[in-house]
Symmetry: C2
Subunit: 506 residues, 2 copies
């Protein structure tokens, strides 16, 4: 998903560096001896860790094109095996298979780890380096980076996590928690079959034992500040189509416009169908029952948003976005509440008939609205799409096509969960300033863990920085110029610290 970029998420949420003073390095608290040994092992394994990420980049799996699927499964399995996982299975999903691996050291607690082993498509012509080489590049103002498709989304952060497991093996230290790793190969096509993998009896039984699930990610902005996101809106992509073929009226192909005097217009029909979806205020969804499952913001959530409103600049946000007024001329704080809590039905694009310069006398045979739903708890993708379709039928537009191309429901994890508490503790020890975000306006498939059947805490976790997910010159920083940004060793140690922190929780 495009929202994995911390810089973009920071912008979306207005999360800028807080008031804390920054200090370099990952500070250590308890578990000093283990941590010292593990740190030495991580440092000794640094180059092997970089090489591991580079080799993974050289073996891309692209779900949309069914490109290198068996190779991706084999590579993911090899990575798990070398990191010390004991049982490794390929889990059929009906699509690109998932890989499930367990590492049981007899610890009282299990931690779930989510990996994606697929990457987004790419066009080498747009890149300044070969996209599948994983070349080390010195990027001015950023530092030494690994550049390549998948570098930050998600092989770099996942590689930093694997490096922690290699350090445990190399230092002969015992993992403080058991691990359940579920790796999917279809994240970039919106995880159409991932729930099938979760429902595998063996996977489900093990995942249910977990205290929570983390998605390794490079969670620092270039300035060094981090955001702990307690959730994310769901996003559902679709095309709403009015077409003569499905309508049985109008022209089979674009016709001379004078014929509209006696031939029906799919373009006007789309306008009228769309109009039923939206209240007259232009932003409140009018789909019957669409808002029934919306949970209002809690007092605590409102307080977190108020804090964000205090610590961030409305003027800066409006300037960056090129916006003069919020909806209803609401306040900065109200706008942040809407960003976190308002479900939306957005028109991303309109396409019909002649779209070039000037005019052309045609009666279009087809009209398309590219629409996106953004959902909040406790809305679901299936329920929302079903209500949209039922609404169109009830309003007299049974022929209007609703072609869903992907997406998820919303995900939410309680602030008081052990996973979030541990996240806070690790960032605090690392002296990395962070903001708590009630909910990212962006989306990721966390609902697969936080929703039925697992209902587990799940969150992105990780420090360090990178950028360019889905874009050319994607990179993952291993030696940052800015000392407030974690290098590869510090990133790896944060995963070590997280596992100890979770093990130590009552």
């Amino acid at each position: 998903m495009d929202e994995f970029s911390p810089t973009r998420r920071a912008l979306l949420q207005g999360a800028a560096a807080g008031a804390m003073t920054l200090a370099p390095g990952v500070a250590l608290a308890a578990r000093a001896d283990d941590m010292a040994a593990l740190r030495r092992a991580v440092e000794q394994g640094h180059d092997a860790s970089v090489a591991r990420i580079q080799e993974w980049i050289r073996n891309p799996t692209i779900a949309a094109e069914r490109f290198k699927v068996p190779e991706g499964v084999a590579h993911m399995s090899k990575l798990a095996q070398e990191a010390g996982f004991q049982k490794i299975r390929t889990v059929p999903t009906g699509g690109v298979p998932a890989v499930f691996a367990t590492l049981d050291v007899g610890a009282p607690k299990w931690l779930g780890i989510y990996f994606m082993y697929d990457v987004k498509q790419f066009d080498p012509a747009e890149w300044s380096v070969p996209p599948l080489e994983g070349r080390l590049v010195d990027r001015p103002g950023v530092g030494k980076v690994i550049m390549g498709r998948g570098a930050v989304n998600q092989k770099g952060p996942e590689g930093a996590f694997l490096a922690a497991l290699h350090a445990f093996r190399a230092s002969g230290r015992k993992l403080p928690v058991n691990l359940a790793l579920i790796a999917e190969g279809e994240e970039e096509i919106a995880s159409p079959n991932f729930l099938t993998a979760i429902r595998d009896p063996d996977v489900l039984a093990t995942m249910k034992k977990c205290v929570g699930v983390i998605i390794p990610s490079a969670g620092q902005a270039p300035a060094g500040n981090a955001t702990i996101s307690l959730g994310a809106k769901g996003a559902v992509e679709m095309e709403i189509v009015s077409d003569s073929a499905s309508w049985g009226r109008g022209p089979a192909k674009d016709l001379h416009s004078s014929q509209f005097a006696r031939v029906d217009s799919p373009a006007w029909r789309l306008v009228q169908a769309l109009n039923t979806l939206m209240a007259s205020d232009g932003h409140t969804p009018a789909v019957e029952g669409f808002l029934d499952r919306v949970e209002p913001l809690s007092t605590r959530q409102k307080a977190l948003i108020a804090e964000s409103a205090r610590t961030n600049s409305e003027a800066d946000a409006k300037k960056v976005m090129g916006v003069q007024h919020w909806i209803n001329d609401e306040t900065w704080e109200q706008s942040l509440e809407r960003l976190a809590s308002q479900p939306t039905i957005n028109i991303q694009g309109l396409v019909s008939g002649y779209t070039g310069e000037g005019g052309k006398t045609v009666l279009p045979h087809r009209a398309v609205a590219k629409v996106e739903l953004r959902l909040v708890p406790d809305m679901t993708k299936d329920d929302s799409v079903a209500k949209l379709k039922a609404h169109l039928v009830k309003k007299g537009f049974p022929d209007i096509e609703v072609n869903v191309t992907g997406g998820y429901g919303p995900t939410q994890t309680p602030e008081e969960s052990g996973l979030i508490k541990a996240h806070k503790a690790v960032l605090t020890r690392a002296q990395i300033p962070y903001a708590l975000s009630v909910r990212s306006a962006g989306s990721w498939p966390g609902v697969v863990f936080t929703g039925d059947p697992l209902r587990l805490p799940a969150a992105q976790f990780g420090i360090g920085n990178g950028n360019g997910a889905h874009a050319p010159d994607e990179y993952f920083v291993i030696e940052p110029t800015n000392p407030q940004v974690a290098n590869l060793t510090q990133q790896t140690m944060a995963y070590v610290d997280l596992m100890y922190e979770i093990a130590a929780q009552g």
Copy 2:
């Protein structure tokens, strides 16, 4: 205008060859001696006439680019002078000037002639011959043609008319009518200043003396049948635009779609504004007062349409258009009545945000509907546009832009006018089968003559064939393969016959 092509107009109106048997040549009735002498002169002048058309094609004036304006005025004046016009004036219009010329032989009647001396733009890369050479080409199944930009729209037919005047000079015969020629240089940009030329006191005084105005055109379909069109709908082209800049709300440029939770959407605003323009049936204009000036079809007009319904195939029309049902599942005859009498507000195109394959998470800053009005008597362009704008303001959309890019009101000429009677008489003598069309669904600027201040009969007149107006390889047929189609000499003689016919009318 694109509707000048007889083949297209025939398709629009379902006017196919009637039941009359065809016979070649132009038959002569009265005025035998003059006609014989004139015919010899036309035949002797044939090659000079072809050369005159070719030379004109080599001197294009393109109003949209202000290309060769003085040259076009000079060439048009030279053509008028050589054809025998006595007084020739350049008439300023504020845009490309018009040329006005009179030929007063002291006859009791004046006939108005409309010329356009400008042509549509062209791309030589799309042509099989140089577009400005006027090359003679043998076109399989069609015959010998002059190919070039402006060949049929309108220099070929205008050249055929000029050839008639040269024949009068060469044969020493006296013109049966006086002539008032008004030639405009902005027809291809929708005649924005032509009414200014008509309102010139000298032009107005002379035009008011005319019994009617003809526009020379190649009025036969490839099969040989002709259509006498008693009028044409008006057409007004516009873009209806919703933009953050004029609204003062929404994003200055496309923004991440998650922001729709707190930022207004110009795309949704366009949908809601458009929705107010159209009744729930999806075809009846809902703009307040829009239909007030619509004149219902007369009994005679309904009878002509019924005749057209009888002589043409509904199945063929539906097949050619790819249409299964007319609006409201109406009958063939009702569909032809709507085509002639139904004013429309058509969406020709919709453009907003992301228009490529798949989806893209944007909140568009601008949305555009390419809209076209088709008007019938007694609606006018200005009144209709004013009502549309007032309607949007009244409905709460004062910020929605209505950018008119061109067009005209409707034109209509009475069937019982001398001009139409003469037209019928000439076609009958020429044994060319014709259909009477109540009103073309297409458009041309006849309203400049049939509307205020002149209120004259005005109609396209001419036989012969051509095709490709506004398209590559535009051509005008001078020696048709099909003997039912008039050659250049026969076309010229039809203008001679028309002038005698008008002179002979009581």
